[in-house]
Amino acid sequence: MFIQLLMNGIALGSVYALTAIGYSLIYSILQLINMSNAAVFLTSSVVFYLLYNSVSKGMIFVTFILTLAFAGCLGYIIELVAIRPIREKGDGNTYALISSIGVKTILEKVCQGAFGSEIHPFPTLLAGKNIVLWDGTKIEWIQIIIIVASLLILTVMTWYTQNTRTGRGLRSLSQNLNACHLMGMPVNRLIGISFAVGSMLAAVSGVAYCMYLKSISISVGAAIGNKAFAATVLGGIGILKGSVVGGFILAIIECFVSGYGNSTASQFISFGILIVMLFIKPTGLFGKKEQRKV
């Protein structure tokens, strides 16, 4: 039982982590919580399903690439249309935040309109094969694939932000946006790219989650959005490593509590931990205490 719960927690944690990286990436650059990220999570899963059943019948990998492309464009367009004009006026992020809520409502309702509220089977990788541990715990290969994928993406993202030119550009944006303007960096293009990357991450975690569940319905993104968001803050907002660790911790605790206790208690605890954590160490697990610049 213990190992089964641990495995459930790790698999779920990797989905939280993937979505959390999306939030953290955009937050670290713009100090903006991109509410539409959860809606992109849902839209990409729906697009994957529709593509899989129509255009690229049966070829998971091709559909995956197409969905990633779609999510990237969607992210860029969201930034271009709904966020950029508001951000540039510089009235503080509240208004960009409200606009991202508007985008979230639009995307969710479009998906509900197109997809209906029923549940449909969703393709998965290495279906049916699983490993049976000594005490009867069954672990699906898809769980392992998702865990590996999330760690892989974390390393790629950290390498990307450290070594490539655009990666360093994204990081410098998070330090000081105006300075980048002065240095002649194409700030708007970079922010667009960061939204695109964030959306692609949301797409990957959306599809991974649906593969993990082997089903898809329009309420798929609802719970994940809040939880991933909580994971971002638990690990230290803006720090990629933090959001992954935060995601795993939150998911493991949630699984253990709902395994031994009940699911209501697990909801209480996952939100309660967050507030207690913020009480003790507001900057999160990996955040550093900032000296107030007066």
């Binding site: 709904a82 006026k89 935040l97």
Partner: protein, 339 residues
């Protein structure tokens, strides 16, 4: 420059905003005489949203804190009055002090973690706080009747005089809207109000001027929660049925939209914001082809309003309009400390 100052001085003393507010209230007061009970019900919920919107505007516009969990206080107010009726048979007036007390406590509890952290955690703390309160509403079966919700909450009784008819209830809510507006303006135009706005604009400078940040944050949260609780209590008695599905994050987002559409710190704007965003979905309900795209249009309007108010192209157009009736419109709060 000389005559320009004299004019702003007159406008300031007369308070063009208060004038617009009272004229609107007069117009709203005579609405029930011309309109059937369906439209009257919309105006009732618009009036309740005005109080709820003003309470959040007090927190966001004056206190400088964007709260994503304001539906929590709305819910505490609603459940207090409903539970007092459900368990002890109290009516609206006798439960009212408790509504204020429990909402204040709920506000206080949120203020404590909020004042310890910087702006960027505001969103997640308020969201989680509202989520926890919603879970409590759902699972504290002995008190809140749990997921079954509380049914048949009676009409509002004012010292024995039951407001059975819709227009009576509507006028009572309008009276509360006026009272809330007046009390909020007393607070805003006082030392406390000024200090809060100073904290909103620059908390370090405010601290340097000797303003006790923690105690002021607690005060503004408590007062804002009380008004939200009152709005919740009104909702409970007007609609007669409450359960946990009403007090969700969607309600908080709608309230934020009302405040932001109306203009941060601009309480008359909140009145119009509440009217606009309550009547709009109802109007869309009748438009046939928009039948199930109602919420999509709502989302588009949200983005458009943000674009209109707070984007450079939007500002250019507005600047042209503003030059026409420049003197009358009093400017809103331009920017809020980083979220």
């Amino acid at each position: 420059m000389k005559n320009e100052n004299k004019f702003t001085e007159i406008v300031k003393r007369l308070g063009v905003r208060h004038l617009i507010f009272f004229v609107t209230m007069i117009v709203l007061a005579i609405v029930p005489l011309f309109v059937n009970s369906y439209v009257l019900k919309i105006f009732q919920s618009a009036a309740i949203n005005m109080i709820f919107g003003m309470s959040l505007n007090l927190l966001m516009g004056i206190g400088g804190t964007v709260s994503f969990g304001h539906a929590a206080f709305y819910g505490v107010g609603a459940y207090t009055t409903a539970c007092m009726w459900y368990h002890f048979g109290w009516n609206f007036t006798s439960a009212f002090p408790l509504v204020i007390l429990f909402s204040a406590i709920a506000g206080l509890l949120l203020a404590i973690p909020m004042s310890r952290v910087t702006g960027r955690y505001v969103t997640i703390i308020t969201l989680s706080y509202a989520e926890i309160l919603n879970l409590i509403m759902r699972n504290w079966t002995k008190v809140t009747n749990g997921v079954m919700g509380i049914l048949n909450i009676p009409n509002i009784k004012l010292f024995g005089f039951e407001l059975a008819y819709k227009d009576e209830q509507y006028w009572f809510i309008l009276v509360l809207v006026v009272v809330s507006y007046v009390m909020i303006n007393w607070l805003v135009n006082s030392k406390l109000g000024r200090n809060l706005q100073a904290m909103r604009d620059d908390s370090i400078a405010a601290e340097a001027m000797g303003i006790p940040l923690f105690s002021h944050k607690v005060i503004i949260f408590t007062i804002s929660a009380i008004f939200a609780g009152i709005a919740g209590a009104l909702y409970a008695h007007i609609y007669g049925y409450i359960d946990y599905t009403v007090f969700t994050s969607n309600l908080s987002f709608n309230c934020i939209s009302v405040v932001v559409v109306g203009g941060l710190g601009n309480f008359v704007g909140t009145i119009f914001g509440a009217l606009f965003l309550t009547i709009l979905p109802e109007m869309l309900r009748n438009v046939e082809f928009l039948f199930n795209y109602r919420m999509i249009v709502y989302g588009v309007i949200l983005v458009l309003v943000m674009w209109w108010n707070h984007s450079i192209p939007g500002a250019k157009i507005k600047a042209k309009l503003r030059s026409i009736f420049n003197k009358l419109i009093h400017r809103n709060v331009e920017s809020v400390e980083e979220v």
